[in-house]
Symmetry: C2
Subunit: 376 residues, 2 copies
């Protein structure tokens, strides 16, 4: 048989298509948490200095907020955020990590001489016990397009279980943004799809000639599978700001202090307008996010820090931007208004992945088009 | 956080390192079976014509053995082997498939007008029920280095549950081969490892300068993780026969009619000699397999077919060969004898993956060296 590598097709996440509802915890552990047990992957995240630097600044530029406080780090990984919190003056930091990376975190904490103030706990936040409530919860929970991985769920659980009234979340707010872009990748992907279908046609011929088996009855399914891959899967992209050809719409904001788990798990729906700023095709909608460190209403930060994953001429964060390519592109003129409705829904077969539906039309022209994607 | 793709690190199979013993069935389904639910992957296997052609010939050149017989295809996938068996004259073929690919198989069977003789059953062979015993079991169960995926287990279960006395397995025999090779990939991998460690050193400097955090306490673990990846992971290779610099040793043969599940699950240990045929370094041991279609003692095939995955100037099968690179290579002279002992053991954290230990020495020179690998 020879299945190369593991997981789903083409290195995508495993799909548990014939199991009903949520995957059991063991499957989730195998498919999700395990990645974070590799130092190689921790290094990838740590050396994303826009990411690590933003958390560093959020702590170090707000020492007044940390001084003498009790902090919880949800999903500490290597332990870096716990170390920042302790260095910023926290009296005690609980650093919770599900994977064996907890052992590395423990050593890293000790190597900085911080074992007196940081306690690394291996476990999942939903079931660990802490001896006290905390003043601050810090966590780097963001996935692609903000919501992939659904790790914010765990941060909200931590908040409801452990945060003192008036305590602060770091970050405290998040925003999701969508903008129209121009990108040659659109045509490349279309070409890759065409090549793939030509390959299938040759393959059909071979199978018929060599073995007298006619596989044409599977052609529609193959076409769907390939379209799904090339046209309906969001792509990790590193977009240059000059590729953005319209206004960027902030279509969703989250205040993590008031957001409920129910709201977060519910389908996200938003309608908004985008103004086209250049003549020519819109090849894709490009999505990114930022998070803000404002503290809580009772305990605001002194210096607000923002971690942005917007298109940047110096290059993307490790999140990149998620681009949703349109097949075919939409022809636009400067001044056109794109009326957009977006739906983001968790996948039934894997709650950590997302389906995205974008309905859009150039106002006053043509009829609305619907494009569906998933974030792998 | 942003874990790219799913599964384990670098697209490798998921590791369930903190779960004891066997992964539960749902995890196995998510991580193993799901790959086979993609037509893209079925196409990869079908268009490996050494593979598909060998099964085709095994059926079509042995019509006497199939005429009027009842056949079971274990893991039918697209249904191709069931179709070959029916075309070779089988009265009835039960085609068992665990994944949703069973639905495609059903359509493919109908499109060939064979729904009268082929019954596609979606289920796992360990729990399906058949209304009768079968004369022949056909299956394409081989993984990398023959044993990866451990799917032969299921074929033996099928044999013990459903094969009539004297019935035949297609294939009936399998052989594992190891040979010394010369390959520049050995130095490439060593270079990649060095680059990776230089990258780590730079990373340590950055983390110290930017955030005053000293990660050196994790350097040994990082080194081990990277060595594991670059030096202790078997590589898929397409070796040219001219790269083979010594005799190829058949170190294990399986007669599938008599092999027990206990023998198959037990660690494999073999000792053998390899004669070096050229002066120069031995960079790796290269492993491959072949399977033979001899039928059973009571029902031998008329024409024996062999499916070989040996190095071939026309290119590898989709299995390639698994190469176990030596760091450093072993300097040899023509006529040297390499005394080799190999152990192949199923991984505790994933029974479908393998650990391979190779102990080897040039006879009469130096002392034995041990190299450990895993097959991902």
């Amino acid at each position: 048989m020879a299945a190369r590598g593991g997981g789903g097709g083409r290195g995508g996440p495993a799909r548990v298509s014939n199991l009903d509802g949520d995957a059991p915890e063991s499957t989730d552990f195998a498919n999700y948490f395990c990645t974070y047990a590799y130092l190689y992957h921790q290094k990838d995240m740590l050396e994303d200095h826009k990411r690590t630097g933003a958390y560093y600044n959020a702590c170090m530029q707000n020492r007044e907020q940390f001084a003498g406080k009790v902090v919880l780090d949800v999903g500490t990984g290597s332990g870096i955020l716990a170390i920042f919190a302790a260095r910023a003056g926290a009296r005690k930091v609980y650093a919770v990590e599900a994977t064996d990376m907890a052992k590395s975190a423990k050593r890293l904490v000790a190597a900085q001489g911080l074992e007196g103030s940081i306690e690394v706990i291996q476990g999942v936040i939903e079931s660990v016990e802490l001896p006290e409530k905390v003043d601050i919860i810090i966590s780097e929970w963001m996935g692609y397009f903000l919501l992939r991985e659904s790790m914010l769920d765990s941060v909200l659980v931590a908040r409801d279980r452990f945060l003192k009234p008036g305590g602060a979340l770091y970050p405290s707010h998040a925003r999701m943004v969508l903008a129209p872009i121009r990108s040659n990748q659109c045509r490349q992907r279309q070409g890759d799809f065409q090549n793939s279908m030509e390959g299938w046609a040759e393959f059909l011929g071979e199978m018929k000639r060599y073995y007298n088996v006619d596989l044409d009855c599977l052609s529609d399914d193959y076409r769907k599978e390939q379209l799904d891959y090339f046209s309906h899967t969001a792509a990790w992209t590193d977009i240059h700001p000059s590729q953005v050809v319209g206004t960027a719409a902030v279509f969703k904001t989250y205040d993590l202090h008031t957001l409920t788990l129910e709201e977060l798990k519910a389908p996200l729906n938003a309608s908004f307008n985008i103004r086209v700023l250049e003549d020519g095709p819109v090849d894709a909608y490009c999505g990114w996010f930022d998070t803000q460190f404002k503290g809580s209403a009772e305990n605001p930060t002194t210096n607000e820090v923002v971690l942005s994953t917007a298109p940047d001429p110096t290059g993307a964060t490790h999140w990149g931007q998620q681009s949703f390519f349109l097949h075919p592109p939409v022809d636009c003129a400067e001044g056109d208004v794109l009326a957009v409705e977006i739906d983001v829904v968790r996948r039934k077969d894997n709650q950590r992945l997302m389906d995205v539906k974008i309905q859009h039309r150039v106002e006053g022209k043509g009829k609305a088009r619907t494009s569906c994607f998933h974030i792998e």
